[in-house]
Subunit: 231 residues, 2 copies
DNA sequence: AGTTTTTTACTTGTCAGACTACCGGACAAG
DNA sequence: CTTGTCCGGTAGTCTGACAAGTAAAAAACT
């Protein structure tokens, strides 16, 4: 005896919309299609569509504002707001920060190796090239921005939004000492090599390799920072 | 300057309906007024009323059955249904969250095992006792608070402020569905056991043991959640 | 030209009515 | 007793319309 599962149209619509958001690359905060467009696109009435949207709103997937439109929501941004604020206002010890990154980022690299798409890979390649270019020109500020971007792209490629938001928080509010690691003699060229190793492993889909490469990258960077700080 | 609060009609209606249920003594399982009657009684259109009912349904306050009517949800049923509905719509979010916790928390446990002081251990013991007490009294809300507190205390015991604030962020604004894992039958007693194992390993200074115990705890919790999703 | 006001287009919010799908009881036929 | 049919009541969906909020273009006024 199989369970008969009754499906209401409005609930089916929620699934379709969720898939649309994912498949068509809508990011948190983006404006979504209007109700009229959606109704036409999905071939349903506005009533049913609105009920579906109501569900998505209550479950926190979209926010709806009269006169403005439908927007893709992001629970994660809210969740880590306090964390980001704390990072920004507290020059926490570099050691603590390093410890956390050493826990998280190798796993991010491993996930990225498994889940990265062609878009992700291409963006990382562009980022790496920019990094090399700025390195040749000794543009430290741009270099730092590129370094952050690389780590963020990797987190994005893990296709785990929570990880992405988390790494975004950690990279935007890096402690000063950590940022200045790129000022250390030889760190830039090492970074290029180490990023390259990570990038290659991710491209090859080599999870363990990516994990190890990231582990190596962070450890080496940490060693250089320590030498710089404590002699 | 008073804050302007915009209220959508459908949301006002939910409040009125909730009050009606309480004031007029409707018990769980009772049949409520029909949509037509409600619309007339409240002086609103059926569309707005249906959106209000949709909210109440998703949040697990009423159950709606085509051809039969609107029913006040029974409390036993209510938790399961709203939980299941929420899970259905936030599956990816919860999975992401779990993935991150599975990466971070075992390492936190390992660090706590190495760095925890007597104060940390004592607080964790008190927390565990409270948890068992609330479990016996079936006080779910207090239970949830205790669960979060345990994980926070552990993070604090790692003596890494970044990790602590991070875990605080992750546990304070936890997705509703994840919190509700404690509503799953048998999860509470398992949680007591699993927390105990973590606590013992930390007390004994057994890093690898604590790491494994936490890994086991999260994995088991996730399995139970998944059973509710797909089982 | 620069600024303010008005208009315009587009969006979500609400309403009304009609039709469909579904449920359960009543009742007659077998 | 079982089966089939009908019927009233219910939620589910569709259509079209108008109200209300928003933002940007257009117009009017310095």
């Amino acid at each position: 005896m199989t369970e008969i599962k009754k499906i209401r149209l409005s609930e089916s619509i929620t699934d379709v919309i969720k898939e649309m958001i994912a498949r068509e690359g809508f990011k948190p905060g983006d404006k979504f299609y209007s109700e009229l467009v959606l109704a036409k696109k999905l071939g349903v009435s506005r009533s049913s569509l609105r009920e579906a949207l109501k569900i998505l709103e209550v479950t926190g997937q979209v926010t709806i504002r009269q006169g403005k439109g439908i927007f893709v929501a992001d629970l994660n941004d809210q969740r880590f707001k306090s964390f980001a604020a704390w990072l920004k206002n507290n020059e926490q010890s570099i050691k603590d920060n390093f410890e956390v990154r050493l826990i998280i980022e190798p796993k991010i690299a491993a996930l990225a190796a498994r889940h990265a798409g062609t878009d992700d890979v291409q963006k990382m390649r562009e980022c790496s090239r920019s990094f090399a270019k700025y390195a040749a020109q000794q543009e430290i500020d741009s270099l730092i921005r590129c370094d952050r971007e690389f780590h963020r792209l990797l987190a994005f490629a893990s296709h785990n939004k929570t990880l992405y938001v988390l790494m975004k928080s950690m990279t935007t509010n890096l402690p000063y000492g950590w940022i200045s690691s790129l000022h250390i003699a030889g760190r830039i060229s090492k970074t290029i090599t180490e990023h390259e190793q990570i990038y290659c492993a991710v491209t090859a889909g080599d999870g363990p390799g990516a994990e190890q490469a990231m582990n190596n990258h962070l450890t080496k960077a940490w060693e250089d920072v320590q030498i710089h700080l404590y002699g």
